[in-house]
């Protein structure tokens, strides 16, 4: 019988290269030998990775190979699954998860542990369960069934035997077996006197159940298969039919353009908002919940939508933590460049940032394991798997012709990779974000997003590595969006009720003008605004009333109605009725005397201005003014707010320092801390370290032809488990290395369970204590020979 290593070797360089292409983790760093490759391919992390990427059909096939009685053939697998499994088997072989030789199909070593303890919901084989019984009991049963003791397992596994026995079984026995048959195969042993005791006892006596442990019974594999009618599952595995509901592409295009423009607008508004007033960064690094709520209020969206907008702006690097002493989120210069682009290109930037962002906006506002709120833009909440999830979800949509709902997308992903499928909640969230950003419309993928996706993930790559979108794809996406966008409208219809309507998407210039001068009443395909005195007033800071009216008139097809003209003129007239300026000090007194002072050459340096008769101001501080006046021969005094004269003191310049309490060392605290450090250092590790050190030295001394790489040790052990063969195991013990001939039973979680045949005892050995493991038939030599053969 061949080994997995031999199988790999037999695949040839091309075959192995194919496997390495699918399972990149096997290639880096390059394995030294076929044995090393086999060893690495049977480690838990590598198998986990491979299993995470195969579909449910392949998984079911591997399970079938694992549980079917050998020799396993392709036909047997197909029969057990209830449908042709050839394609799945091929895939499994390509991934080196299944291999075959003259003795039939085998699952790669290590898979049994990974898919256990009950693959396909099946328990241990009859051979195993019967081996645990006394020879007398076996002989009795063999006599009852009319067969030899060593043929007992085969006989009991026949469906006819099982059904024949069940026909004679006491009441309730069939129900017990039927409850356990679909898996899991473990049931609780009924307590003495409880109703099922008799039936379970009878089943145990007849070998149809076995004792698992004192509290549990277990259904042997062959019996379960017989009860399942030879099939592993009631229905053959079948990919879910993702039925796309056909939808008018124009509807999709309409939705996509609407949402894309809205997304661009929302991000633009956020940038402007934070440009005017940056948002504080929490001490933990994110955006506070209250701040996010403020954003939601200003953008008139829900908090969840605001989280997406903020995260997308962050991912596109339009806003960032400014890193100041009191940090705040502030727009970047990239945002300025972005704002110069046309709408379609701005959208492409946002969409690609979202696609590749390792962020999960839908988790903002939920609590983490420690109970702390997850904030938006928190650098700690990086999630590298999110781009892959987006690729997978949008990939399903890309393959469908029409709308697909979240449930169906989830079912497809569940089939494609059952061991790494996202939750339905995450799928829903990704779809909602895609709709919000205009990648999808009415549940179907939009054309711009399709163009973007085409240039994103390399479809042939074993693992879709989201590294960004190619510039050509971005350009195509922008062109697709541009083509779908309605032509911008450069006119506004102004009504006598002080409203204005843009019958379509306003041009940039018109949108900017209206944003400055009016309040938006409704958005959508068109834009409705209302002019109020307050809305006009903000615009008056940057231009005059006449300018506003001229600009409006330039865009108004039907002219500016008189009430609007009056509104603007009135607002302009009142604008600046009250004025504010800065002054350091004032000077008041007799108007005539002050008028003379204003012209005094000695005081020219103070820049005295007449504000009103009898009042002069200067930007100089009061003390300097007094000094200058006194120098000019005027007896000036300083007054306070009530007009009371204040006596001046000499200036005393000081630097303000805050008192800090001296850092008094807390003797108790220091002692405790030191103690803890010492305990950590000494406590757990010491003895173990000493032992390990000894073991290491032992290995170094004479372990040159052993298996120094732990993964190879494990591979040897796994292969032995798979074939049921024995190995020589050298274990480091406190008293020096000990060498035993054992039969490995299970390899699991850093421990190996072995049967020491000589001492008839089962023991568990920690893997890191194993210095050497080699097959009893010394395959090492065979291997060496094989190499020399080549």
């Amino acid at each position: 019988m061949a080994t997995f290593t031999e199988h790999l070797r037999a695949m040839g360089a091309e075959g192995v290269a194919e496997v390495l292409h699918r399972r990149r983790d096997l290639a880096a760093p390059p394995p030294a030998s076929a044995r090393a490759l086999a060893a690495r391919a049977s480690t838990r992390p590598s198998l986990d990775r491979a299993l995470a990427r195969v579909d449910a059909g392949v998984l079911a096939t591997i399970e079938a190979v694992l549980v079917l009685p050998g020799p396993v053939t392709g036909d047997a697998v197909s029969q057990a699954l209830g449908g042709r499994a050839d394609a799945w088997l091929d895939t499994a072989r390509d991934w080196a998860l299944v291999w075959d030789d003259e003795a039939g199909l085998h699952a790669a070593p290590g898979l049994a542990e990974l898919l256990g303890p009950h693959p396909a919901g099946l328990g241990p084989s009859l051979a195993e369960t019967l081996a645990r019984r006394s020879p007398e009991a076996l002989a009795e049963l063999a006599a009852e069934l009319g067969c030899a003791t060593d043929a007992l397992a085969a006989r009991l596994g026949e469906p006819e035997t099982v059904s024949g026995l069940l026909d004679r079984a006491p009441a309730g026995a069939r129900a017990v077996l039927e409850a356990l048959a679909p898996g899991p195969p473990v049931g609780r042993t009924p307590g003495p006197g409880s109703p099922g005791t008799g039936a379970v006892g009878w089943l145990l006596r007849h070998g149809l159940l076995a004792v698992g442990d004192p509290q549990h019974v277990v259904l042997p594999r062959e019996v379960a298969l017989a009860l399942r009618g030879g099939r592993l599952r009631p229905q053959p595995p079948e990919p879910p039919a993702a039925e796309a509901t056909p939808i008018d592409p124009r509807v999709v295009a309409g939705e996509v353009t609407g949402h894309a423009l809205e997304a661009v607008r929302l991000v633009g508004t956020l940038v402007e908002m934070w440009g005017a007033e940056p948002a504080p960064v929490l001490r933990s690094g994110g955006l506070g919940a209250r701040e996010l709520k403020r954003v939601a209020g200003a953008l008139e969206v829900t908090v969840a939508e605001a989280a997406v907008v903020v995260e997308v702006a962050g991912a596109a690097r339009l806003v960032t933590d400014d890193g100041e002493a009191t940090p705040s989120f502030c727009p970047t210069t990239i945002a300025d460049e972005w704002a110069q682009d046309d709408a379609a290109r701005r959208w492409v930037e946002l969409a690609r940032a979202w696609l590749t962002a390792e962020r999960a906006p839908w988790l903002v506002g939920t609590r983490d394991e420690a109970g702390a709120l997850r904030g938006a833009l928190d650098p700690a909440h990086r999630r590298p798997w999110v781009p892959r999830l987006r690729a997978a979800v949008l990939g399903v949509l890309a393959g469908a012709d029409g709308r697909v709902d979240a449930e169906q997308v989830h079912a497809v992903l569940q089939w494609r990779a059952p061991r790494s499928a996202p939750t339905e909640h995450a799928v829903r969230a990704v779809l909602a974000e895609a709709a919000l950003l205009g990648l999808t419309g009415a549940g179907a993928l939009g054309e711009p997003a399709r163009a973007l996706l085409a240039g994103w993930a390399d479809p042939d790559a074993a693992e879709p590595t989201p590294g960004g979108v190619t510039p050509e794809a971005a350009e195509r996406a922008a062109a697709a969006l541009d083509a779908a966008l309605p032509a911008p409208v450069d006119e506004v219809l102004l009504g006598g009720d002080l409203t204005g309507v843009v019958p379509g998407r306003p041009t940039e210039a018109l949108a900017a003008l209206l944003a400055d001068t009016a309040q938006v009443e409704s958005r959508g395909a068109g834009l409705t605004v209302r002019f109020t005195e307050a809305s006009v007033r903000t615009a008056l800071d940057t231009r005059s009333g006449e300018e506003i009216l001229a600009e409006l008139a330039a865009h108004a097809r039907s002219g500016v109605p008189q009430p609007l003209a009056y509104l603007v003129t009135d607002a302009a007239r009142r604008h600046g009725q009250v004025r504010v300026g800065a002054a350091g000090a004032y000077l008041r007194g007799e108007p005539a005397a002050l008028a003379a002072l204003a012209g005094e050459p000695a005081l020219r340096g103070l820049g005295l201005r007449t504000l009103a008769p009898g009042v002069l101001v200067t930007s100089a501080p009061p003390a300097a003014l007094v000094g200058a006046l006194r120098a000019a021969g005027l007896a000036a005094v300083i007054e306070d707010a009530d007009g009371t004269v204040v006596h001046t003191e000499r200036p005393r310049n000081r630097v303000r320092l805050r008192h800090r309490p001296p850092a008094a060392p807390d003797p108790e605290l220091t002692r405790r801390r030191l103690l803890r450090v010492a305990t950590d250092l000494l406590g757990v590790g010491t003895q173990a370290d000493a032992r390990d050190g000894a073991a290491d030295r032992e290995t170094d001394r004479d372990g040159t032809d052993g298996t120094p790489e732990p993964s190879e040790t494990l591979a040897v052990l796994r292969a032995a488990v798979a074939t049921g063969s024995e190995v020589w195991l050298e274990v480091a013990t406190p008293g020096g290395p000990s060498r035993r001939r054992v039969k490995p039973l299970r390899v699991d979680a850093g421990r190996v369970r072995v049967l020491d045949a000589e001492r008839a005892a089962e023991l568990t050995v920690a893997v890191h204590r194993i210095a050497d493991a080699r097959p009893v038939e010394a395959p090492a030599t065979t291997e060496r020979e094989a190499w020399t053969d080549h």
Partner: protein
Amino acid sequence: MDGPLIVQSDRTLLLEVDHPAAEEARRAIAPFAELERAPEHVHTYRLTPLGLWNASAAGHDAEQVVSALLDHSRYPVPHALLVDVAETMSRYGRLQLVDHPVHGLVLHAVDRAVLEEVLRAKRTAGMLGTRLDADDVAVHPSERGRLKQALVKLGWPAEDLAGYVDGEAHPIDLVTDGWALRPYQQQAADGFWHGGSGVVVLPCGAGKTIVGAAAMARAGSTTLILVTNTVAARQWRDELVKRTTLTPEEIGEYSGARKEVRPVTIATYQVLTTKRKGVYPHLELLDARDWGLIVYDEVHLLPAPIFRMTADLQARRRLGLTATLVREDGREDEVFSLIGPKRYDAPWKDIEAQGYIAPAVCTEVRLTLPDGERMTYATAEAEDRYRLAASAAGKNAVVEQLVARHADEQLLVIGQYLDQLELLADHLDAPLITGQTTVRERQRLFDAFRAGEVRRLVVSKVANFSVDLPEAAVAIQVSGTFGSRQEEAQRLGRIMRPKADGRTAHFYTVVSRDTVDQEFAAHRQRFLAEQGYAYRIVDAHDLDAEPL
């Protein structure tokens, strides 16, 4: 795609009026969308659940609504909105109110789960009787209106198949000698009759009384008409005698002065809501006869107690009439759910274009207060400011100037503050009508005005509603009830009867600049501006230069 309609994501529909296909689009969306604003260029409609359900009640289905939106829209219609329309409309009629031959009024479930949900709702507590079977629950007949209201609030509006009582038959016919129902009046009366109950919205002066008379003729039964005041009651009586086969003997007046119950009875809201010792002694009028039709004039003024009483009258046909269904208390929805949905509504400017109401020019005259008054205003307490600004002395001169300009026309000066009005009456040498003027005196003065013997009247808010002065062509408003949009519209309505020579009516409102008076004026004008009446603004000192 180049339709006149733009569908916004907030469920408003923008209709570009100058578009060649605008009229067609308007007809398509009118059954389910509420007209919200109708200024010059773009009219705004809104989709509301109530509007969609009314459309369902009138036999429209979601497919028609969706296709109307798609057909006339210039841009793609938001998908979520279409889904929502279909979903909202599918909620209508899952429950039905039916007249069971044995159990009387019964709430019948077409969808059992909805009935279960409704039965457990707090809102319907006490309205439903015994459960008859899995799908039927008895309803107390008196709870019909309240139940329907509650079901609308729960989002499961019931289809009312229980019908109306015919009432006591009383033949009434229109006497069309020398006049005929105008097309819109006919449409309004038909719309009402097919719907069974509801509200007709027509501008002042467009002949709402005629619509009422036409509805009475269709009903051919005893009718109770509820009006705002005695003067209006007498106008209704005169109009009915003139336009129908009814004789003065068949029409009774039920007011403070007289308590007559006749086949057609006209009662005032005031007398019905008079409360003595905690009871409404005149409420029995509602049950005095087996009325076949109840008409609510100026339904926007419906007082709260009448709301409650109306809930008990759901088995009788109800017609609401108004020009301005805007209530500053925001209870428009209650009017719709108790009287019935809007059965007819037309923008004022449309009726004006057809020549049925006088074209009107609205002008706001802005008066700059002299410095002394500005200072007084600036330092006044907030609650006195409106009064100070509204009754500024400078307004008198402006009014005189305006009166001089319209020396040959029948003219009304309307205001809020009695001392201001007294002063004006004095200046203009015109009679004054206020709340203190007796009904007889009012009647006499109005008659004299109609006959042209008196050319100018100074009136307080008593003349806001239901005073029919066909020849009044100019109104000057000097002060009002703060920012009431509805008062402004009703006051304009006083001068909108078409004039014999087709003259344009003039509505002036005199406003003190830079005061709350100006702010309130802006708010007051909103309804009319939304109906397409653009105010021209003139400075008081430019008045002479301004052409008429």
